[in-house]
């Protein structure tokens, strides 16, 4: 029992970018700091062929927990897991629960639903800019759309995909093009390239509104960002990994939502040129409570 507790992380991109990969990285660092675990990570550039090997590399070196940060790791984990019954394979944004492979999911559609509500209450037209059409993005946008629809069924929404997660310039141009077509609420969601969307909002005047997602981007567009949705996925992961360390392996998949206030922080930016009014905030709080209580479905499952 003298062996140190070890956790490994697989990310599908670069941890240096603000965005999805950074979230996973922060979780890893949190586990290291709070649980005293020995940690390591590997970046796999969206290449499915290398996933299995990376799991093997970690597992064969005696790692106790391996977090595959993204549903795309699920297949590879399932293939490798039977060989290492003592290792727990956690998969982000997955609903899996098969032996030692456990899905962790942050239901992003919930905060995006709230953003949709705000958009519909404060604006005339919404524009969404996605990286690639993959589930976390689509789920988020679905939540946003449902949020909008719950307030104003005819509220126009446009969607643009730039086709990658690196071209911040494309995100910016796509956002500008949406704004030129009348969108006054733009929401970028493209991992490393997200920042371009805020840039576009900042350049288009104070009437264009947006929302900072996953990280704090207020310095890029202080007048335009109405609020922040910060995902502290790390808190959730630390909780689960702590349980595992203490011998309490989860038996089903885990889903974080607005109910987990430590994981999902939803706040407002009072520096915004047109801050969200008290009335709207109150309405949003009610919706939020209902979502947390499971009374509102933010997306189909």
């Amino acid at each position: 029992e003298g062996a140190p507790f070890k956790m490994g992380l697989l990310v599908p991109g670069s941890v240096s970018e603000e965005g999805w990969n950074r979230i996973g990285f922060n979780a890893l660092k949190g586990v290291e700091a709070e649980l005293g675990a020995e940690v390591s990570y590997v970046e796999l550039q969206q290449n499915p062929a290398s996933f299995e090997k990376a799991f093997h590399d970690f597992a064969s070196q005696g790692y106790n927990v391996i977090l595959g940060h993204g549903f795309e790791f699920q297949d590879a984990a399932l293939a490798v897991a039977p060989e290492y019954p003592d290792t727990v394979f956690l998969i982000s944004s997955s609903y899996i629960s098969e032996g030692n492979v456990i899905g962790l999911n942050t239901d992003t559609s919930q905060p995006f639903y709230l953003m949709g509500v705000i958009a519909a209450k404060t604006g005339k037209k919404a524009g969404l800019v996605g990286g690639m059409e993959i589930p976390p993005i689509k789920e988020a946008f679905e939540g946003f759309t449902n949020g909008v629809r719950s307030v104003a069924p005819d509220f126009p929404i446009s969607e643009v995909y730039i086709g990658n997660f690196t071209d911040a310039t494309a995100t910016k141009e796509a956002s500008l093009s949406l704004i030129s077509q009348g969108a006054d609420f733009v929401l970028p969601n493209a991992s490393g390239a997200t920042v371009g969307g805020f840039q576009a909002a900042a350049e288009s005047g104070e009437n264009v509104k947006t929302f900072s997602i996953f990280s704090d981007f207020t310095s890029v567009a202080p007048k335009n960002i109405l609020g922040l949705y910060i995902a502290d996925y790390a808190r959730g992961v630390i909780r689960i990994v702590g349980d595992i360390k203490n011998g309490k392996k989860p038996t089903t998949n885990v889903e974080f939502g607005l109910k987990d206030a430590d994981v999902m922080q939803f706040t407002y930016n009072d520096q915004a040129a047109n801050p969200v009014t008290e009335n709207v905030r109150k309405y949003v709080d009610e919706v939020k409570a209902k979502i947390a209580a499971g009374e509102i479905k933010t997306r189909q499952k």
């Binding site: 590997v42 969206q46 499915p48 970690f58 993959i134």
Partner: protein, 365 residues
């Protein structure tokens, strides 16, 4: 590996001692040069690490000992080398015909998509039929995708450099459409195709590792392509077209025909690589099935001086570097992107050494 002479069959009558001397010296040189180049590149990588505050010893630990630690590691290297060798060998053929096919990446995607389409479609076909069928589908689709650039060149004089680059983007976008549309696995959340029917899976040759027959096919094809290029009549015609289209026309060698042959051959190899990746490794089609194999394949071919046998070695080298870089990140948290730097330096030092030591390698006017 970077030996131009092996690219030209000079059957000079053997003068006993000279031949013996050459026989000993040439292999030595061909091994020594790249080895020195790689050592230099690793040293540069280590210096870069040390300079930026990382633990530089990790490079040596991992590169020299780590990557070959067990059967699985070696199998994984061969697995990575498979697409690189296949694409590199194919590009040797295209480049020898002066067809600058930058489109192996797109042809790889085309092959992968076709292999998937075939691989998910039938049941009860039997592996002995299904496996070749999947390979054929990949090769044909790769060739067809490349043929577009060939036809555009022949009929519209459109530079293949431009068209293959464009076709790369289009193939990527098409794959994205396929996995979110027609080929999408309805049951999965992730945009990916359904899993291939088990009979279509490439037989594994070293269980429990993932190594499959693809590597054997790649090695055989490298030899076949070498013989084709430098020992066969048709390969000779192809090289003449590559050096001097006017001389080819004068000699009654059809230039368009050889353009099509070379670009389709290289496309089919890239397509085949795509099929192997699907049916041998991932078993599904994803949007980003290639981490840039097609571009790395260009470097593989060029590093091998467009010699298919050489491409085996440069392909292996690049696979080792990639494997090592993943391991380095796990063991020493060294950013994996360092591998790109090391690859770049390997190429530069190989051409540097080659030019220093073999005068005949200097490009002639």
């Amino acid at each position: 590996m970077a030996n131009s002479e092996s690219g030209q069959p000079l059957a000079v009558a053997p003068q006993a001692y000279g031949a013996l001397w050459r026989g000993l010296l040439r292999p030595l040189r061909t091994v020594a040069q790249p080895a020195a180049a790689v050592a230099l590149a690793l040293a540069c990588g280590a210096a870069l690490l040390a300079f930026n505050g990382y633990d530089a010893r990790a490079v040596i630990d991992v590169m020299v000992l780590g990557v070959f630690q067990d059967t699985r590691s070696i199998a994984e290297i061969l697995l990575k080398a498979t697409p690189l060798i296949l694409i590199g060998v194919g590009l040797c053929v295209a480049f020898r015909c002066s067809i600058w096919n930058i489109g192996a990446e797109g042809q790889f995607y085309a092959g992968a998509a076709a292999a998937t389409a075939i691989g998910v479609s039938f049941n009860g076909l039997g592996a002995w039929l299904y496996v070749p069928l999947v390979m054929l589908a990949g090769a044909l689709a790769g060739a067809a995708w490349a043929a577009i650039a060939g036809l555009l060149k022949i009929y519209f004089r459109a530079s293949e450099i431009v068209t293959t680059i464009m076709l790369n983007y289009i193939a990527l976008i098409m794959t994205s459409y396929l996995v979110t549309g027609p080929l999408r696995d309805a049951a999965a959340a992730y945009p990916q195709s359904a899993r291939l029917v088990q009979e279509a899976w490439m037989p594994r040759i070293l269980p429990p590792t993932r190594l499959h027959i693809g590597i054997l096919v790649a090695l055989v094809l490298a030899v076949v392509m070498y013989v084709f290029l430098f020992r066969s009549a048709r390969g000779y015609a192809l090289r003449v077209v590559g050096i001097s289209p006017d001389a080819a026309r004068y000699a009654g060698i059809s230039v368009p025909r050889n353009i099509m042959i070379s670009i389709c051959l290289s496309g089919s190899m890239a397509g085949l690589a795509g099929a192997f990746e699907i049916a041998g490794v991932t078993r599904r089609l994803f949007q980003s099935i290639s981490p840039g194999y097609g571009f790395e394949g260009i470097a593989v071919a060029l590093l091998a001086n467009n010699n298919p046998i050489g491409a085996i070695f440069s392909g292996l080298l690049f696979a080792v570097l990639r494997s090592g870089s993943e391991l380095m990140q796990i063991t020493a948290q060294i950013p994996q992107v360092l591998v790109l730097v090391i690859q770049g330096i390997v190429i530069l030092s190989v051409v540097g050494f080659a030019v220093l030591r073999i005068p005949s390698l200097r490009p002639s006017e």
